[in-house]
């Protein structure tokens, strides 16, 4: 066992019927880091997290959590581990507080004051005495985080925590996860949103159809990313296209919808825009099509994309 690893999953596989949901994946999460497991729906992220929690038994491979395995330690493997899989679910006929009290019972109780404190952290203290059946999706997500914090974990596992939330809820959830990470928690979160992972995580594993398409640091991922693309609409696209010849570092093309698609580094794009302005060509629209990491994500996980990029990279951990 490697010291300092919160999660060490080696050669883990799981098959459901004829579907290989997870295929020989290896993931190592260092203590104290925020680690993202990224992938499109059906990539195997949730199956992997379910195996961490012992909800699903792997067909092959070993999973060591904070140095313990299910075979050796049984349910004790979950000591100091908390989180939720997919959307957190509670008993709708009980209040939020009653749900938390009950879950704390299953943990062997909780220190005095902790329940109120976690409710305050997720800002549910004023709604805690309402039945969960009346909660919104976002409130249940927050109650899920509260239920996790009740376990005073060292490792927090969150499965798409911002899924289904409105923009304000997404912002607040990310903010909460970042604060939890800053407090020293190891956070392992799954997502299909590149922005979320880029904003929160130090290291990432990108999964595709049950296999690892990439793992390494976000910084390393950025170096692999393609140039950003922009859609440009002007008052004179024909002339704008001619002026593009002055900027050989850029690739400018006309798309079927009569806009210009400009690909290249940001300074070159800025210089090109300045050229257009000097030539009295007005800009009608200027939008980034995808962030570079989004583009890379699609390349790594889309079967029709460049396979040369989809190579596993040795994990590099970033201590916080």
């Amino acid at each position: 066992m490697n010291q300092g690893l919160a999660v060490e999953a080696t050669g883990v596989s799981k098959t459901f019927g004829s579907v290989r949901a997870v295929d020989d994946i290896t993931i190592r999460v260092a203590e104290g880091e925020v680690y993202g497991v990224l992938g499109p729906n059906g990539a195997g992220k949730t199956t992997f997290l379910r195996m961490l929690f012992g909800l699903i038994r792997p067909d092959a491979g070993t999973i060591r959590i904070l140095g313990r395995t299910w075979d050796e330690s049984g349910v004790a493997v979950l000591d100091e581990v908390a989180g939720f899989i997919e959307s957190p679910r509670f008993y709708p006929y009980l209040t939020g507080r009653q749900n938390l009290e009950g879950l704390a019972l299953l943990d062997g109780g909780h220190p005095p004051g902790l329940l109120e404190e976690v409710l305050e952290v997720v800002e549910m203290d004023d709604r805690a005495d309402e039945r969960v059946g009346g909660y919104s999706y976002g409130m249940r997500q927050r109650l899920g985080v509260a239920a996790s914090l009740l376990r005073t974990p060292r490792l927090l596992v969150l499965d798409e925590p911002a899924n289904g939330l409105d923009p304000a809820g997404i912002r607040d959830m990310r903010s909460l996860v970042k604060r939890l990470a800053d407090s020293g928690l190891t956070v392992l979160l799954s997502s299909h949103d590149m922005d979320e992972v880029e904003e929160i995580c130090d290291n990432v594993t990108i999964m595709k159809r049950g296999t690892v398409a990439f793992h390494g640091t976000i910084a390393h991922l950025r170096t692999m990313a393609p140039q950003p693309g922009h859609v440009l609409a002007t008052t004179d696209d024909v002339r704008a296209l001619e002026l593009a010849h002055q900027h050989p570092a850029l690739r400018v093309a006309r798309d079927p919808e009569a806009a210009l698609v400009v690909t290249g580094a940001r300074p070159a794009v800025s210089a090109y825009v300045a050229t257009l302005v000097r030539a009295d060509i007005d800009l009608l629209a200027f939008n980034q099509t995808q962030t570079p990491l989004e583009a890379l994500f699609f390349m790594l996980t889309d079967d029709t994309a460049h396979q040369t990029l989809a190579r596993p990279v040795e994990p590099t951990t970033v201590p916080r």
């Binding site: 459901f16 199956t47 379910r50 929690f53 012992g54 909800l55 699903i56 038994r57 049984g74 349910v75 004790a76 979950l78 000591d79 100091e80 908390a82 989180g83 939720f84 997919e86 957190p88 679910r89 509670f90 008993y91 709708p92 006929y93 009980l94 009653q98 009950g102 879950l103 019972l105 299953l106 943990d107 062997g108 109780g109 220190p111 005095p112 004051g113 902790l114 404190e117 976690v118 305050e120 952290v121 997720v122 800002e123 976002g138 927050r142 239920a147 914090l149 009740l150 376990r151 005073t152 974990p153 060292r154 304000a168 809820g169 607040d172 903010s175 909460l176 604060r179 939890l180 407090s183």
Partner: protein, 291 residues
């Protein structure tokens, strides 16, 4: 949640990992707490308390007693006979239903609410959760039987009367002895009722569907009674879970015989053991892919 950026992260003076793993009592308390909050369980208990009174009043008001039924001949004039008449009726499908309402839902309800992943990611093992749920369902079965029996006996005796009872062999049983025998007869329902509880648990775990867990034991119980009533199946009858429901008849005969009670106890125990073993194995091996 807009102000969470300034809220403190929970610590409450605790250190991560300092956790006492709960035994069986904690999940048992949790299951009981959940059960007490469920409207369905309260409705069953209230029904078990109130409905016998209504039935007693209605039968007492009948001009013609149901003579074709066991103890029916004296049901309108003798409270003990009426309590036994109701017992015979309850054993047909009411008792399996009353216990299945909770036992058939107690595991499948977790699937229905999607909460397996919530409880199984805490510090309580599947085995402890299994036994906590099983004990809760069994406890509920015992309580609902006690409430139903007490309500039936009390209302029958108070409304219809407590004259000496004529036994199955035509003997006269003094009132005090009749009361004791009626109470014991009701108590003999517990083993087969627990058998149906365990059967409901098995169906609940296997089907992951509360409707199957609740209706299944009732249907199976009625089929067993049908099979038991057929001729030429004497070899099968002792193994049917419905047979122990009739074991109390020997208490009201002269001389008394208790062999069927012991056989019924054994049959119920075997059904309990088989059902729970199968249910436990299913739950332990199950991959929680949903809920």
């Amino acid at each position: 949640m807009s102000a969470t950026t300034n809220a403190p992260v929970a610590t409450a003076g605790t250190t991560p990992g300092a956790r006492t793993r709960p035994g069986l009592v904690a999940p048992l308390r949790w299951e009981i707490r959940k059960l007490r909050a469920q409207l369905r369980a309260k409705a069953v208990l209230i029904g078990a308390l109130v409905l016998p009174v209504v039935v007693v009043v209605v039968i007492h008001g009948q001009s013609r007693p149901p003579k074709d039924t066991l103890f029916g001949r004296f049901a309108t004039v003798n409270g003990f006979a009426l309590a036994l008449l109701i017992l015979g009726f309850a054993a047909q499908w009411v008792l399996p239903l009353l216990t299945a309402v909770v036992a058939g839902d107690i595991f499948a309800g977790e699937d229905q609410h999607g909460t397996w992943k919530t409880v199984l990611t805490r510090s309580t093992s599947r085995a402890r959760l299994f036994w906590a749920k099983t004990l809760t369902a069994a406890g509920f079965a015992a309580i609902v039987l006690a409430v139903l029996a007490a309500s039936t006996i009390a209302s029958s005796v108070l409304i219809v009367g407590h004259e000496p009872l004529t036994g199955l062999s035509g003997q006269t049983i003094p009132a005090a002895e009749a009361l004791r025998l009626v109470a014991v007869s009701w108590a003999t329902m517990l083993p087969p009722m627990l058998g149906f509880t365990c059967l409901a648990i098995l169906l609940s775990v296997w089907s992951r569907n509360p409707a199957v867990g609740i209706a299944g034991p009732v249907v199976i119980g009625m089929v067993m009674q049908l099979v038991g009533a057929l001729g030429g199946v004497e070899a099968v009858r002792p193994f049917l879970l419905s047979t122990p429901f009739e074991a109390w008849h020997g208490l009201l005969a002269d001389p008394r015989f208790t062999g069927p009670l012991l056989d019924g106890l054994l049959t119920s125990a075997v059904w309990c053991a088989l059902s729970l073993t199968a249910a436990f194995t299913l739950l332990r091996r199950r991959d929680i892919t949903g809920g």
